[in-house]
Amino acid sequence: MEAAAQEFSSVVQAHRPQIFRFLLASTRDVDLAETLTQECFLKAHRNWDRFRGESSAMTWLMRIAINLEKDHWRNRRLQFWRHTRTNSVDLDEAGEWLPSGERSAEQKMLAREQVQHVWNAVERLSARQRTVFLLRFVEDQELNEIALATGLSEGTVKAHLSRALGKVRAELRGKP
């Protein structure tokens, strides 16, 4: 019992930032990402004894996070009478974040513009395409891991990824 608790605690420490990052990129809402991350680990804790280790803990957690996000948007659609404003930051603000590397002002501007274009494209992706795209290009997950986390086949993941990249490419070309 004690060992399981310690094991879970180490899983939380290892994977919490990544789950938060994925949810933040998916929702662009810091508070919502934080709330969903907490819910994700709460759910994982409740079901930790059922985790068989067939996939990695990260993949298992990511699957929970994806389902929670899906449920969240579904519930929001049903609760249309509620306050509809979200706390999502706008795309300009999201695109402002760049690591402070050794870059010239021009490079920084170019990079910022590229990031902005990618965000614009991500905004137009379907929920599934966005999830697959973020898992691949932000979380660096392999296709088989994405397939396990999303419950899709590898072929479907490839197809979504291809369409998502097509949209990013078009956006970068200036023809969204």
């Binding site: 930032p17 938060f20 990052r21 933040l24 990129a25 810091v30 508070d31 990402a33 934080e34 999201a94 695109g95 974040w97 760049l98 690591p99 170019l110 990079a111 513009e113 590229q114 990031v115 274009h117 990618v118 965000w119 973020l134 290009f137 932000v138 660096d140 990249l165 990013v168 490419r169 970068l172 070309r173 200036g174």
Partner: protein, 141 residues
């Protein structure tokens, strides 16, 4: 600004791929940087909690109003039904009373007629009574 600034002897697809790759790298770095900054900053949950508790209070108030309204509506409906039933019962009683009065009046009228008939029959002179009885016996069967 276009990202497809082609170098000499470079194929457009290659330039596109490089630009795409660079854009994806920058995007990845940007999201990682943003997430790290947001993850490490202390959460200001008070506002959320306050907002949430306000919503909960409003929800409870609305729920109470609805509950009281439905109970009051039920009570009013019950009272209204009772009133309607009482009026209907009174109307029925009045109708029955009227029917009984009519029956009584009819009966009294019949009794009066019978009495008059009897009085009229008794008006035959007593000397004629045997003859009258004979006439009654002679009537064909």
């Amino acid at each position: 600004m276009s990202f497809w600034t082609k170098l000499p002897d470079e194929k457009p697809e290659q330039a596109e791929d490089e630009a795409l790759e660079q854009a994806l790298k920058n995007f990845r770095s940007s999201v990682h940087g943003w997430s790290e900054a947001m993850y490490s900053q202390p959460r200001q949950t008070m506002g959320v909690v306050r907002q949430t508790s306000w919503r909960v209070a409003a929800g409870w108030a609305l729920g109470c109003v609805l509950a009281v309204g439905s109970v009051a509506g039920g009570v009013y409906d019950h009272h209204h039904r009772q009133e309607v039933a009482r009026i209907a019962a009174a109307a029925e009683a009045a109708r029955q009373q009227k029917v009984a009065a009519e029956q009584q009046a009819r009966k009294e009228s019949e009794d009066l007629l019978a009495k008059v008939d009897s009085d009229v029959s008794r008006a035959v002179p007593s000397a004629m009574e045997p003859l009258a009885r004979l006439m009654a016996d002679d009537t064909p069967q």
